[in-house]
């Protein structure tokens, strides 16, 4: 009986060890991240905000807005995977590399690729979710449709129809009627993205990145996934419209401005975005 118990204990230990070993690695391309190395780096770079336990309660957390990510919850905003699933190692690697615009999370690109891979491996040790299941499969992103005025106008309709303006505001300034009351999954206040000032998005800078945000959602925030609501083509239309809200010289903004000059009557006849849906919205 004692022998049997001993074998059981050894088997459990081996199993947990194997799971643990799985969780303490990260694979990004040819890079293999090691949690042991990542631990030292985490202590150097991340602990101030994310805390020693990875629960987002570092010494700076009280002064940081928005609040640092709680890695123990295993919920991540920027993913290539469907909502509710765990991100891939590449997703975490990209988030560390890119940082989060308008937050205290900087771009850690000055670190070496190996350093960032090691950090990914260590971050994965904080949540049991990494041990209980594999990350989701990255969503398929169809080829981007052509940037046309029809696409932009349709995107504009979707922005109204799906009530994006309620959070992001009629002009995308992050000042919609719901903006002030938004909270994240930990009940911390959270602000919707302001397209008028951001030079890049929370999870990237390209049209593809913006498409991915719609279709995967930002888990842990009020931004849902629209994968079950809109079709891929519609998502591209929405991307094209949102690009016109940025203070950047994008191709979409150029097409939009040209159309307004060419068809002033039609532009003037557009219904305003928002609750009233009035008759005129000159530049939007």
């Amino acid at each position: 009986m004692k022998m049997k118990n001993a074998i059981m204990i050894v088997a459990v230990l081996l199993a947990s060890g194997a799971t643990s070993a799985f969780a303490q690695e990260a694979h990004i391309g040819n890079l293999q991240g090691r949690a042991s190395a990542g631990k030292t780096l985490y202590r150097r770079y991340c602990i101030g905000c994310h805390g020693a336990q990875g629960n987002g309660a570092g010494e700076n957390a009280a002064w940081v807005d928005p609040k640092p990510r709680d890695f123990t919850a295993g919920v991540f905003k920027c993913r290539s995977t469907p909502t509710g699933t765990m991100p891939t190692d590449q997703d975490l690697f990209d988030a560390i590399t890119r940082g989060f615009v308008t937050t205290s999370m900087p771009a850690w690109k000055p670190l070496t690729d190996q350093n960032r891979a090691d950090l990914v491996a260590y971050i994965k040790t904080f949540s049991a979710k990494w041990q209980s299941g594999a990350p989701g499969a990255p969503i398929a992103i169809p080829a981007e449709s052509a940037v046309t005025i029809e696409s932009i106008l349709h995107g504009r309709e979707l922005f109204q129809k799906m009530e994006c303006w309620k959070c992001h505001g009629p002009a995308g300034h992050g000042d919609g009627p719901s903006a002030a009351s938004l909270t994240d999954s930990k009940d911390n206040p959270i602000r919707p993205y302001n397209f008028a000032v951001g030079s890049r998005f929370k999870c990237g800078i390209t049209n593809e990145d913006l498409y991915r945000i719609f279709m995967t959602g930002l888990d842990g925030t009020p931004m849902p996934s629209f994968a079950d609501v809109i079709k891929p083509q519609e998502a591209w239309d929405l991307v094209h419209f949102l690009r016109t809200l940025q203070p950047l010289e994008t191709k979409e903004a150029s097409v939009w401005k040209e159309w307004q000059l060419k068809e002033p009557a039609k532009a003037k006849a557009l219904k305003a975005i928002g609750p009233d849906q009035g008759t005129m919205q000159g530049s939007l």
Binding site: T40, K109, L111, Q114
Partner: protein, 480 residues
């Protein structure tokens, strides 16, 4: 006489004993103090930390994010600095900060140190009527100069730095606190939207890969790189690569600062305001490249060249020098390379320099004079290897060996080895407190310096005799 010598030896021994006792007391005090690592402290204790360092307060990052061991920058810190003290997260402008935010940091180091140097010429009055070469030893509690550093952004892509510094640089008048601007500049970042164009104007540190302003040594001997201030025997040049200079700098860098360049046009006054000597200009150029080597980490090499001139004739009016009117400029240069190599936790910092001063500077002659036979511009070579072993972000062992060799003296009358220098420093820094809003380091260091010929001109003793001096320092280096 023998009794005197015995007494002297006894005194030296007692001095050493008291030094060791003091050192041990400091160490014990440190251990008994509440020195738990910062990262283990609960959040509620943080409110006891009142003072807030400039960038930590603004961005909420720990010291170790930007520093291998503060004040030395790591590559992330270097990138942050290259970006004009900005994270480029669209919230860099101070308009996003709480109005109470003030970008200021202070640093000072109360310490105990012991200094000793042999082959010092002692006047007869102090040695019972007989001139002799002797050893001078002193020790006691002391303070470093205090830094009050304000730096940050005035607006998006306009950054600044202002570092007034106060200290007692004159041992003969210790109560006289000298005040000066260690640096003061404004910088226009990302000009034309390009990170390759950043323009800085004012007084600033030269773009040295291995910064003397941010290094991990504090003692009298170890607290400067000998090479950064070396001048050949007899030279009237006053240039030091480690001295902050006045001028304008154009620099650029890649997104992660792996590739960097800088070109600076500098006033030939060694960083001293009010144009005291010259109306000439110097040029300093650097280029560096970093590359990743798998698990070893980031490796970087830098090439540099400084070409300058200094006046040899100083016109006077009524017997008083006319400021900024120096003429008869003669040239000098310093060229070499530096590196920053990482092998896991071990950081290696090699540095090499070749130096040259014009014959007139080297012989302290005005440009209108005729050079004596055999006079020539002195040249020298030197280098050092510094190592840092970062056991963890809160503990680092430091070590440095430096050597300078004259390859050509200014004239045949100067002994071939006069000026040759060797220096060695070893120590450690422990950072029991490393909050993002304040830092405390327990610093211990020993350094040894051998200089060939510090007896100097006019010495009645062998002017080429080696002078050995050593420093021992233990102190608390804190910044907030």
């Amino acid at each position: 006489m023998n009794a005197c010598l015995r007494a002297g030896r006894m005194g030296e021994r007692w001095s050493l004993v008291t030094s060791i006792i003091t050192f041990v007391i400091l160490l014990v005090a440190m251990v008994l103090a509440d020195s738990r690592p910062a990262y283990t402290l609960p959040v509620h204790n943080l409110k006891n930390v009142r003072a807030i360092p400039a960038f930590a307060r603004k961005y909420g990052l720990p010291c170790s994010a930007c520093h291998t061991a503060w004040p030395e920058l790591n590559n992330f810190g270097m990138t942050f600095r290259d970006n004009g003290y900005q994270l480029n997260n669209d919230h860099d402008s101070p308009i996003y900060q709480d109005p109470g935010y003030f970008p200021i940091t202070m640093r000072v180091t109360p310490n105990w140190h012991r200094e000793s140097a042999n082959n010092q010429m002692l006047d007869p009055a102090s040695t019972e009527g007989t001139a002799r070469q002797g050893t001078i030893t002193t020790h006691g509690f002391d303070l470093s100069g205090m830094d009050i550093w304000a730096t940050g952004t005035i607006f998006k892509n306009i950054s600044f730095s202002l570092l007034p510094s106060a200290g007692t640089d004159n041992p003969a008048d210790p109560g006289h606190i000298l005040f000066h601007f260690e640096n003061a500049f404004i910088r226009f970042d990302n000009v034309l939207g390009s990170r390759w164009v950043n323009v800085k104007l004012g007084k600033f540190e030269l773009d040295n890969l291995i910064s003397e302003k941010r290094f991990l040594f504090l003692s009298a001997n170890g607290g400067s790189y000998q090479l950064y201030h070396f001048l050949p025997p007899g030279s009237t040049n006053d240039f030091g690569l480690g001295d902050n200079q006045l001028g304008v700098e154009l620099m650029g860098h890649s997104v992660n600062s792996y590739t960097r360049y800088s070109v600076a046009l500098l006033s030939s006054n060694s960083g001293t305001p009010t144009l005291p000597n010259s109306r000439g200009y110097d040029v300093y150029a650097t280029v560096s490249q970093a590359f990743q080597v798998g698990k070893l980490g980031l490796q970087r090499i830098q090439g540099y060249a400084y070409v300058g001139e200094r006046p040899t004739i100083f016109p006077t009016s009524g017997g008083s020098p006319i400021l900024g009117a120096g003429i008869g400029n003669k040239s000098f240069y310093r060229v070499g390379f530096a590196g920053s190599f990482n092998v896991g936790r071990l950081e290696l910092l090699p540095f090499f320099m070749h130096g040259y001063d014009n014959a007139y500077l080297g012989n302290a002659l005005p440009a209108t004079a005729t050079l004596p036979p055999g006079a020539i511009g002195p040249t020298w070579n030197g280098g050092f290897l510094e190592t840092h072993l970062h056991l963890n972000p809160q503990f680092v062992f430091t070590n440095r060996y430096e050597v300078i060799r004259m390859s050509r003296q200014a004239n045949p009358g100067i002994p071939w080895n006069l000026g040759n220098t060797e220096a060695y420093s070893v120590g450690y820094r422990w950072y029991p407190i490393m909050f993002s809003r304040g830092g405390l380091a327990f610093h211990n260091e020993y350094s040894l310096l051998k200089t060939q010929g510090s007896g100097g001109p006019g010495s009645i003793f062998d002017p080429t005799a080696a002078v050995w001096s050593n420093s021992l320092l233990a102190g608390f280096d804190f910044a907030f």
